[in-house]
Symmetry: D2
Subunit: 360 residues, 4 copies
């Protein structure tokens, strides 16, 4: 199904080469100031052709709001939005239409599930669908910022073997967008850009890791059993195309630590007079609920499956086929994945924040 969330709900529609992509946000409270420009700004960070690092496909991706907003404020009714598809060069996808299975792509499984593939290039399984998530997430982020003081940020922390080693708290997050690779440390960003260019030159692709953080959460966000905050956030991240791993706080490294080193002791905050964890190995959660400390998580993306080289493969019936070297794909999706990670996090947190308002 194509709906995400329980209280703040996003339903998306659209194929990569159909008429349009869009969605409906249901559950956004009335009276929230929202502008089409805010949503457009978020989409511009995801759109193809935004820099030399990304695919040269040019799509303006202009969003139109069809309902739910009147005179700049939400009505409390469903907010529908739509982005028309423009650069529908389906001809690039002749080999798929002829039945060739692209390694690392969804045709193989999609064919078994639905009995057909959308020969126009990815169709519904295309990452173009994430455009609707970014638009919906922008509305969620506006709600969280305006009503709850919650801020969500993500950045690229690894590209292939190049790691950002500056500690999170020393990063200047205002610089995330100052390089096309969306790594806030200029020196590391330069190395990442070089690494992506090298992959492109080698007719190859690279993956990497996005780090996300959310600040301003109240204590107690999440549900204690199946709906733990890490479960919902991790499920949201693992629902993004190409994601292969998720960790929160110390994550896999926590499995190596003894309890005496991993436990976050409680302390009295001198400024607020409140009890809080003195350290944040847990990444902002305890018992599945937010602690009020910054939420910290990491998301692993596999390398882009489409390579700019001729590739031998098979059709579903076992006949040999050749995927041509054309196609206008990114050598690395990480820079464009940053707004998607932020959007999905905003949807999860807005959903839990609305639920919390109910139980108060």
């Amino acid at each position: 199904m194509n709906t995400f969330g329980t209280h703040f709900r996003l339903t998306t529609f659209g194929e990569s080469h159909g008429a349009a992509v869009g969605g409906i946000v249901d559950g956004c409270p009335a009276g929230l100031a929202i502008s089409v420009e805010e949503i457009q700004t978020a989409l511009d960070r995801r759109r193809p052709g935004q820099s030399a690092l990304t695919t040269p496909r040019q799509e303006a991706d202009r969003v139109e709001i069809l309902s739910g907003v009147y005179e700049g404020r939400t009505l409390g009714t469903p907010i529908a939005f739509v982005v028309r598809n423009e650069d529908q060069r389906s001809a690039d996808y002749g080999a798929i239409a002829a039945g060739a299975l692209r390694p690392g792509h969804a045709e193989f499984t999609w064919l078994a599930k639905y009995g057909h593939v959308d020969g126009r290039g990815g169709g519904r399984s295309s990452a173009r669908e994430t455009l609707a998530r970014v638009a919906g997430g922008a509305i969620a982020a506006t709600l969280l910022r305006a009503r709850a003081g919650i801020e969500i940020r993500a950045w690229v922390s690894s590209v292939a073997e190049i790691d950002l080693t500056v500690p999170d708290e020393q990063l200047d997050l205002s610089r995330i967008d100052s390089t096309p690779v969306r790594c806030p440390d200029p020196a590391t960003a330069a190395r990442m850009i070089a690494r992506i260019e090298a992959a492109r030159a080698a007719r190859d692709s690279v993956g990497g890791i996005v780090t996300g953080t959310a600040t301003g959460l109240p204590v107690g966000l999440g549900e204690p059993v199946f709906g733990k905050l890490p479960a919902l956030l991790g499920g949201a991240m693992l629902g993004i195309n190409a994601v292969k791993g998720f960790e929160i706080g110390d994550g896999f490294a926590a499995a190596r630590l003894p309890g005496s080193a991993h436990n976050d002791a409680f302390t009295l905050d001198d400024t607020t007079g409140r009890v809080r964890p003195a350290t944040n190995h847990a990444g902002g959660v305890l018992g599945g609920l937010s602690t009020g400390e910054p939420l910290r998580w990491r998301v692993a993306f596999k390398p882009v499956a489409t390579l700019p080289r001729e590739t031998a493969t098979l059709t579903a019936t076992g006949d040999p086929a050749i995927l041509p070297a054309k196609g206008r794909h990114d050598p690395c999706v990480l820079p464009r994945a940053v707004p998607i990670v932020e959007a999905m996090a905003a949807l999860v947190i807005a959903d839990l924040w609305l639920l919390r308002e109910m139980s108060r």
Copy 2:
């Protein structure tokens, strides 16, 4: 909320020191042969006191089926089951009742969310709740085995810094339960047991990693957008107490590989005459749907938060408090986590398998 799943649904109830823990399975098809012994066997793998490695708490955890099964077969109606609590030594929890916040535990967040804590020791946030997941998962696993030929297995692959390095395909999974640590390689198991005993001797605890696998899946299980198989499986794993990370296939290591090394090329299977991926870097999924290859995932558990040593902490109002050295907790939850990982995987896959039956 306390319900998991859409088509095969488990709703659980019960506090660690209340009258009983149990659940209702809704959506299990009629006519499935199921016995209370099968469920009991699964529970016995999770119960405390099962070996020298676990907590000395002794709880028989006898399950009773209240509905939905008649003459050894399911009726298609809700299957309710209940396990009475026995060893309710609430007195051990005097410090919690007095307001001490245990580091790494849920009292801090629970108190903010609900305005009270269950002074009887964890209450609903206790891992005792997972008993109901294991019982529900046993029913799901029986369904998958009988109707779909799907087998789910999990084992301990790391304890602190001790890693199982034998490749998955060389493991003899019939040996998982032959050691109390549930690692199928005897030599590694012995080192893990020694590592856990060392932690206990140091009045400390350790975490680790569980590897899971599912075989026999049809091609195409999962939903292509928000309900991708990794999203649902990962969300289920991250909803288990103490889990901090999840990866599928090559996971975080995939972020380091170039596309040319990570892509799984298609080949013609000599035996079946069918096209399939020749390798399985992807861990059994493509485009969020199962490929028919073994599903492979890993789950990181943090070290046990409760330590058998006197610990200074604070109350919620900032007063100093001492957590006494008593308590009967495991130095490492990994061996008992194995059936929980299997149960949650079975619930996810049964849910998707039923959904697939609908779309056929």
Copy 3:
């Protein structure tokens, strides 16, 4: 599926002749004072054998709470409850077990849907399942009374052709339980009782109408599109066994009126100084949302299908069969339906009331 509600959710289990019937209430806020006696009192109004008018089956129907309540207050966790079945005289149902289809009963449709019938007498389709609704509804009613000042009452307003003609506002609702037929007007109650006794003497059965009312609702309860208050309330009523019709306010009579006679004009309430509808043709709703005026609805029950007379019928394969004259069924379910109507209304209103707390 066996779950009702979105925010205040009841999941029920149990077959008429299995081990037990019960349920889980999920979503009830913490801190609510609730006693097992309150739930028992509600069940006693539904139980068989309570008066000469009902089936002579004797079942004490003692309820036990298994979780979610501690020291007389809800914990905010799932409230599980169970009622053991006692008087399981399955032998009465030999003809069903042998395949005879009872006119007006579910065996015909159940057999087509599930491929089997529960030969023990109704099984899951038995009205015994409503016991769990009454228990869950008692918890919802307690919540509504304590937190929102909402009171729900229902009574028998017709038995066959005998109608209660006293206007609702002149009824003394404290007298509902003063006669076994649960009609608050003594004279009408006497005629109804005589009518039921006449049906029994004629080896026949009768149906009738239950009127329900809820007072103290805030303005604005309900959702304006698909989840209109009449839609949710009507759906709940039509989910009760034997119900064939539902109307709100003037109902079917409204279809006869001109708009000028049906519209409720607005007036200024002298006491409160607030605007309110001067009349209540609408039955307490406008645009699908509550107006704050008493909610008024009516529910039509068909006559009991099981007759105390030998009846010729067929098996599913078309062979002639005889249903014997035994069986211990009610000649009229209306008196026992009153608490079920109240329970389902309480579940609907509690669900909407919790949702409203969220949107405030």
Copy 4:
């Protein structure tokens, strides 16, 4: 929330005087032949200005499909559709904008719920939203006709005190659309038209009853506990604007009958050799599940609340206000309600039919 259904799901959006109204259908199987003309035909039966009996508002209501259909067949992905609003004469609604509460309308309750009203005339609570239901229902009806052989028809059976007395089985349903009032019996239709014209002349309005029927249902559609077919169908009907009552089969009349007269005996069908009910008092359901006999139900609509006469009322703060005599409303909504009743029935039955495919 603005989503209807579980497996075949419709989410709608749009305000009466905003940019557009539309929706997303999620869950429609792939490969179904569907044309925009089919949907348009359904919309034309609902649109204003279609005959002298309806409002003179002229809106072409042209539908555009944005996704989910390719080369005339569904893709199995979400089907989004949109209808631009044209005749947005908000000026007609000056009195509402100034705070006047229209008797029988939603402003009073909406204001309490959301703290604002959409002064442009109804907004989201306007019956214009049902346009999206008709479009979504047309897709559901196409699915049911093509895949399951199920046909749904509705007609006007009462206008005020004028009743259609011809038995259902003697009606020629191909004549429903042959008169603007959508009653298939010409003589009754003429009397109904005269009655509506009389109401218009009297500056008043009238209500009435729509009868619906569905044929070709398999035995066993529905869920046996909360999701009984009458519960889902009734809930859907009671979610239509202006509906005040619902009954299935004999409905309220069944409450008057003895069991011996109401029970439908089983018989052997000479043609098919199958067992079936010999009569259909039940209206096509038993135990909440379909019997395979025609589903028969009736829906009561209140008279139109907006009257073409000057009306004194109050504002929410109690100030006197005058609603002017203008406005371009229908004197009777029944003819335009027919396609809405059919659409909601199609949505309910498609949802249950998909669920049944799962349990087979």
